[in-house]
């Protein structure tokens, strides 16, 4: 238990500290390796007109309004703003799980851009899948998404807890 708690603390730290764009190196496209670039958008001061407002509806049905930067993913926003959605984004946006599953209004869903095959494969395994579900790690913010609502679906653990409570 103590270990689990320690790991939970460790995870966001590790994520934040790790430069998100390491691809330059793997691509072999000539970036200098010695000074690895830091591209964590959250740490850079950005002009306010690049900010996009997002309303998250958490698992308790409460609205949490935050701002993210254009180009960030919704998972980046959740991490940067330290939003407490238990178990959200377990694989750190590497398309190995579907814990950053979010549900959108149809209007917004249409504006979210192309779904890749790999994202669809992961959505297949998402809990409580809907027709307007996407993975937060694959949604990049643009100005046109300003004011969007993203609902965090119930997790398996929530369902079990509520069943236990009613029993």
């Amino acid at each position: 238990m103590a270990l689990a708690a320690a790991l939970r603390r460790l995870a966001p730290v590790a994520l934040g500290a790790f430069p998100r764009r390491t691809t330059a190196v793997t691509l072999g496209c000539g970036s200098r390796l010695a000074g690895t670039r830091r591209l964590s958008a959250g740490t850079q001061p950005l002009r306010s007109d690049n900010k996009v407002t997002i309303h998250f509806i958490n698992r308790d049905g409460e609205k949490v309004t935050v701002k993210g930067s254009s180009g960030d993913t919704l998972l980046d926003v959740v991490i940067n703003e330290d939003l407490d959605f238990d178990g959200f984004g377990a694989c750190e946006g590497t398309l190995a799980c579907s814990t950053c599953h979010l549900i959108f209004d149809e209007e917004v869903y249409k504006k979210l851009g192309r779904v890749t095959d790999e994202e669809m494969d992961m959505l297949d395994l998402a809990y409580g899948l809907t027709e307007t579900s996407r993975l937060g790690c694959q949604i990049c913010l643009t100005k046109s998404l300003d004011g969007m609502v993203a609902r965090v679906p119930e997790s398996v653990t929530d369902i079990r807890q509520s069943k236990d409570e009613t029993a």
Partner: protein, 534 residues
């Protein structure tokens, strides 16, 4: 439910799940019924609020009540009748006989098998941040003995999470892995050339004997190109000596798999009497590590030289790891070793099965060929970015892995007490997730024994397959880290092979069945004909 759950776990703790527990439970239920109807017997509120019929339905059963083969039957099946090579079939038999959740004993080890997609989903969706697969003590012991680090397969807990966090950022995102497309394609060029050489050695001028041998070399070459940033020459006519040595070490690892797997389970005091399994285990690891050390050190020396010359360092995965120092050198050795080990046989077996299935189903092969002609034409070389326009190639890999999941079962050790399929599973229980059984279950895949790509082709982006039945790479935080690399290697090679050749069964190939040898592999050589298209 909550009350009952607490009560059962309390009983389990106090009485160790003995039959006494069951008796007590019956007593409790009888008492409970009268209490509920009597209403005022000074029963605690907790008890009174649970209606008796709910208690009847949702009573959590103990492990003791779980069905499963007897210890003796299992012992005979596995050690006497060599069940290890048929472990996938036994899994299927047992799940039919005992149900979707059953227990087995392997000596002192109790294993709870899960052959139900919903239960699998429950386990995988609720797992912690650092899931544990199984007991890796023997792997760890070797590493301690030699002063080596653990890698992603053998590490647990915080060590595992730290390394996983570094590596997944490099090789798990599809768009990052797409950057290796050209490197892999160079290896595919060599694969095609090698096929052309090999088939001239046969009297029909078309047959390649034992295609797995070929695909083994392809997979090894491709993984090395990505992992070590160098070519090994596996697909040349003369394979370099150090590569041959590595292949020998790998074969030793797998040929003695049965014994080595249990090398750690054999009590240490027995090693002086039966020393061979543990010695072979250590020897094969020595060989595997040695190979990685050579290649990692070589690259490290190159980087040092470049830096001393004031040159800009450019490179791929290994360069990144060596330069950024997010892991120690020992950790890099260990992960390079374990990733190469994990990335060769798995890919080659799947490619062998895929080409075998294509040969068995020529009409499916023609459909894919048509798709390739429409998308690429006869001459254009497929790249990672083209794969999204080749749904049948993706479906081919998925359907092949459904038929022959390379890991027929995967393990988890429960990190919390949980209730699974109505049974109380205490923390620390070894679970076996029976992927082979769920993949071939008609409930999950209608007409499961039919080879059908259309199961995997989506009509549109909202067309989903709600299915944990076939998850060959696993799911979640401890899923296969090489998944995207393996997919790239398979998509690029299979597309090119179908584009270039008609793949047919060689007359010298019989019906090939699967056998388990650690992994699910072809039980006999697969010999195929590669006949030029055009």
């Amino acid at each position: 439910m909550a009350v009952l759950y607490n009560f059962t776990s309390a009983c389990m703790k106090n009485f160790g799940g003995s039959s006494f527990n069951r008796q007590l439970f019956c007593v409790f239920r009888t008492f409970h019924k009268s209490a509920a109807s009597g209403d005022v017997l000074g029963i605690s509120e907790e008890r009174a609020i649970t209606p008796p019929d709910v208690a009847e339905e949702t009573r959590v059963k103990s492990l003791r009540e779980m069905p499963g083969p007897s210890t003796l039957a299992n012992l005979i099946e596995f050690f006497w009748r060599d069940g290890f090579s048929r472990i996938h079939e036994i899994q299927l038999e047992h799940s039919k006989k005992y149900g979707k959740i059953f227990k087995s004993r392997f000596g002192p080890q109790l294993v709870v098998s899960i052959a139900d997609r919903d239960l699998l989903a429950q386990v995988l969706r609720t797992e912690s941040i650092a899931p544990q697969r199984g007991n890796m003590d023997s792997w760890k012991e070797y590493r301690d003995l030699r002063g080596r680090s653990t890698g992603l397969i053998s590490a647990e807990g915080e060590d595992w999470l730290r390394m996983r966090s570094v590596l997944r950022q490099l090789i798990m995102r599809p768009r990052d892995v797409a950057a290796f497309s050209d490197d892999v394609n160079e290896v595919v060029d060599d694969l095609v050339k090698r096929i052309c050489v090999l088939r001239t050695q046969q009297s029909d001028g078309a047959t390649v004997l034992n295609v797995n041998d070929l695909f083994f070399k392809y997979a090894m070459e491709a993984v090395a190109a990505i992992l070590y940033e160098c070519r090994l020459g596996c697909l040349e006519s003369e394979v370099p000596q150090e590569t041959q040595d590595y292949i020998a070490a790998l074969h030793l690892m797998f040929s003695s798999f049965k014994t080595t797997m249990y090398a750690g389970a054999i009590p240490k005091w027995l090693r002086s009497i039966i020393p061979k399994p543990w010695e072979e285990f250590c020897d094969s690891w020595d060989g595997l590590f040695k190979f990685s050390l050579v290649h990692v050190d070589k690259r490290f020396a190159e980087i040092k030289a470049q830096l001393e010359q004031g040159e800009e360092v450019r490179g791929g995965l290994l360069t990144h790891l060596l330069v950024t120092k997010q892991m120690t050198l020992e950790e890099i050795y260990a992960n390079a070793t374990e990733m190469l080990l994990a990335g060769v046989d798995t890919t080659s077996f799947t490619l062998s099965w895929a080409t075998y299935l294509l040969a068995l189903h020529p009409h499916v092969q023609e459909q894919i060929f048509t798709e390739i002609m429409t998308t690429l034409g006869p001459g254009r070389v497929v790249t990672a970015n083209d794969v999204q326009h080749l749904p049948l190639i993706r479906a081919l890999v998925k359907e092949t892995l459904r038929f022959f999941p390379v890991l027929p079962a995967n393990g988890r050790i429960t990190q919390d007490d949980l209730v699974l399929g109505g049974y109380f599973i205490p923390k620390g229980t070894q679970l076996a997730m029976c992927h082979y059984s769920t993949s071939l279950d008609d409930e999950n895949f209608p007409e499961a024994l039919d080879f059908r790509l259309d199961r995997w082709v989506r009509k549109d982006t909202t067309d989903h397959v709600d299915n944990f039945g076939s998850i060959p790479f696993g799911y979640g935080i401890r899923s296969c880290i090489g998944r995207r690399i393996a997919e790239l290697e398979m998509h690029l090679s299979l597309t090119r092979l179908i584009q270039k050749f008609h793949i047919g069964l060689s007359p010298v190939t019989d019906d090939v069945k699967a056998k388990t040898h650690g992994l699910l592999c072809p039980g006999a050589p697969i010999n195929l004909q590669f006949i030029d298209r055009e």
